[in-house]
């Protein structure tokens, strides 16, 4: 057995047993952040003072014999599009420069209530739009396995924060793969929960019917530990669901009889190293007693066009609120400037190129004369895709694909070609369109030493199955225990 306790569970247990203080754990995290930031640029803000105060409060509670929360003393980083009271929250956009939320997102409230120490905010593509963390007003984050490459995106900073071991866990958001793809590129676990599993209250909305918040961790068990804390219905988010809570750890590592469907016809055009690593993961599950079966996944080749029609349409509406009135930046105004000028210039100066491109595309497909041919059509194909997934997942427990067609690509390679960047999401967007949960698990390395991830997609509310399959894989492989060498 290779399995080792993940750093979330280890830190929590060490604090609970009194082997380490929460303050010492927090100080270690702060020191690691300070050491690696010059190269990695994973964080947009660090709240050292508040984090140490929070840690000290946990230590006092323990000394007083009070019962501790399930994540007591665990430092956690949070993507910069999730509101944190008192810590700047900008979604890496100039348009929100200076915004300090007056309230915590529900997930942050839940983390804090569970004793986790929210230590800082992490870099991302602006408003989570991108697959490389290069569309950030803070500059790109670097991949800890090779700083000349992207960590993926949009939650790149959250992935880097965990992969470089500055924190045991982080939160990202996933609209079309923004947790899973950077997890794959950085060699860690990333989980997108079922739509409605986690409250979106306090998440700066990109595409409301697709967005979900989820954890980055080193082990599948750690992902379950974080998910169990952040999950649950919330009166502030009408789309959050009343369903039984997911388990806080894998109930077992037994995958005997688990049926894993592989859509072979869909998995074409992936790099040879990715194909090899993916097959290795399938072999590991087969050796553990799972059954691998070929499945047909109709309409999946249309998932990217459907996604970019629906996501941009929703974004064009959601981002209308950034207009220089209530928060963030406002353009410099002359006394004669009109309200409309204020809106238009504030938005042109505040948004980056990719965000403007998507607002334009979304506005176009929703505009008179195009709505039926693009937006409505995409919603109909989305329904067909949902039905196709329901059919396949009635027969198999999970669907396996690579998480991304390649390992991490060089910084700068795709920035000038938005369509090429979109195609990198081929395996991840479907789970968001359909609503089902999906996890990325480390499953090997390229010849250049870059991590490769395998994605499992499960039935609605079946995160437990994904965690069990992940924990099983991690009991016979050690890909997840490899760490990048950082100076």
């Amino acid at each position: 057995m290779i399995e080792r306790l993940g750093p979330v569970v280890s830190a929590r247990d060490a604090v609970a047993r009194g082997e380490r203080t929460a303050e010492a754990v927090t100080r270690d995290a702060l020191a690691a952040i300070a050491r690696h930031e010059p190269v990695l640029n994973a964080y947009t803000a660090v709240g050292a003072e508040a984090a140490l105060a929070q840690a000290a409060a946990i230590d006092r509670a323990r000394a007083a014999g009070e019962s501790l929360g399930p994540l007591a003393g665990v430092p956690i980083a949070v993507k910069d599009n999730i509101c944190t009271r008192g810590l700047p929250t900008t979604a890496a956009s100039k348009v929100l420069r200076g915004f300090v939320p007056p309230y915590d997102a529900t997930v942050v409230e839940k983390l804090t209530a569970a004793g986790a120490v929210v230590i800082g905010k992490t870099n991302c593509d602006e408003f989570a739009m991108g697959s490389s963390t290069e569309n950030s007003s803070y500059g790109p984050s670097a991949n800890p396995w090779d700083p000349t490459r992207t960590p993926g995106g949009s939650s790149g900073g959250s992935a880097v924060a965990v992969a470089s071991r500055t924190v045991p866990a982080s939160l990202g958001s996933d609209t079309g793969g923004s947790i899973r793809q950077p997890a794959s590129f950085c060699g860690i676990v990333g989980l997108k929960p079922t739509y409605g599993r986690v409250s979106r209250y306090g998440l700066l909305a990109f595409a409301s019917s697709l967005d979900q918040i989820g954890p980055f961790t080193i082990t599948a068990d750690d992902a379950a530990a974080v998910l169990a804390v952040i999950a649950g219905a919330d009166t502030h988010d009408a789309t959050s669901a009343q369903v039984p809570a997911p388990a806080a750890s894998a109930a077992s590592r037994d995958v005997r009889g688990l049926r894993i469907g592989v859509p072979r016809a869909f998995i074409t055009g992936v790099d040879a190293a990715v194909a090899r690593a993916f097959d290795d993961a399938l072999a590991a599950w087969r050796d553990l007693g799972a059954t691998i079966v070929d499945v047909d996944l109709p309409h999946s080749s249309l998932a990217i066009p459907v996604y970019y029609l629906i996501a941009t349409a929703e974004a064009s509406s959601n981002l209308a609120r950034y207009d220089g009135v209530r928060y963030g930046a406002r353009t410099a105004l002359a006394p004669t400037d009109s309200l409309r000028t204020m809106y238009e210039r504030t938005r042109d100066e505040g948004f980056g190129a990719e965000v403007k491109r998507r607002i334009m595309l979304g506005t176009y497909v929703l505009s008179a004369g195009y709505y039926d041919a693009y937006y409505l059509k995409a919603q109909q194909v989305r329904a067909k895709l949902r039905d196709a997934y329901a059919g396949v997942l009635a027969d198999v427990d999970v669907i396996a694909t690579p998480t991304a067609p390649t390992a991490a690509f060089p910084l700068g390679e795709k920035v000038a070609d938005p369509l090429q960047m979109y195609l990198a999401d081929i395996f991840t967007v479907s789970a968001n369109l359909v609503g089902v949960p999906a996890i990325s698990l480390p499953c090997g390395f390229s010849p250049e030493g870059l991590p490769i991830g395998c994605q499992l997609t499960g039935r609605m509310w079946a995160e437990d199955t994904l965690v069990r399959a992940g924990a099983a894989l991690q009991s016979t492989t050690d890909w997840h225990l490899q760490a990048p060498r950082l100076s």
């Binding site: 007056p102 739509y195 009166t235 009109s338 042109d348 403007k356 334009m360 041919a373």
Partner: protein, 100 residues
């Protein structure tokens, strides 16, 4: 790939709808890139969808009525705290003159 860009007039029409004051360079760039992206996404139009009900979201409809209790919300000072320009005492956001 041979792609027809969106013409300048169309790009400016969309930008006006989206409240974006694009520069001339941006109009050129987005015209070309949106043309490419639209050509790519147009492949959905070949998929037969007669009689398929459009799917606007994943959620099961479980919205119900909550009890009509007063709940806490942001106070005025917090709500105005991030405004670029506000009359904080009076409790207003300030914007350029709208009428006359």
């Amino acid at each position: 790939m041979d792609v027809t860009p969106l013409d300048d007039k169309e790009v400016r029409r969309i930008a006006a709808l989206a409240h974006l004051a694009l520069t001339d360079d941006e109009v050129q760039l987005f015209g070309r890139q949106l043309g490419e992206i639209l050509q790519y996404v147009r492949q959905v139009q070949a998929e037969p969808t007669d009689g398929v009900a459009p799917m606007s979201h994943v959620g099961r409809d479980q919205s119900g009525e909550r009890t009509d209790d007063v709940q806490p919300s942001l106070d005025k000072a917090a709500a105005l705290g991030n405004a670029p320009d506000a009359a904080r005492e009076a409790g207003y956001f300030k914007v350029p003159r709208v009428i006359g």
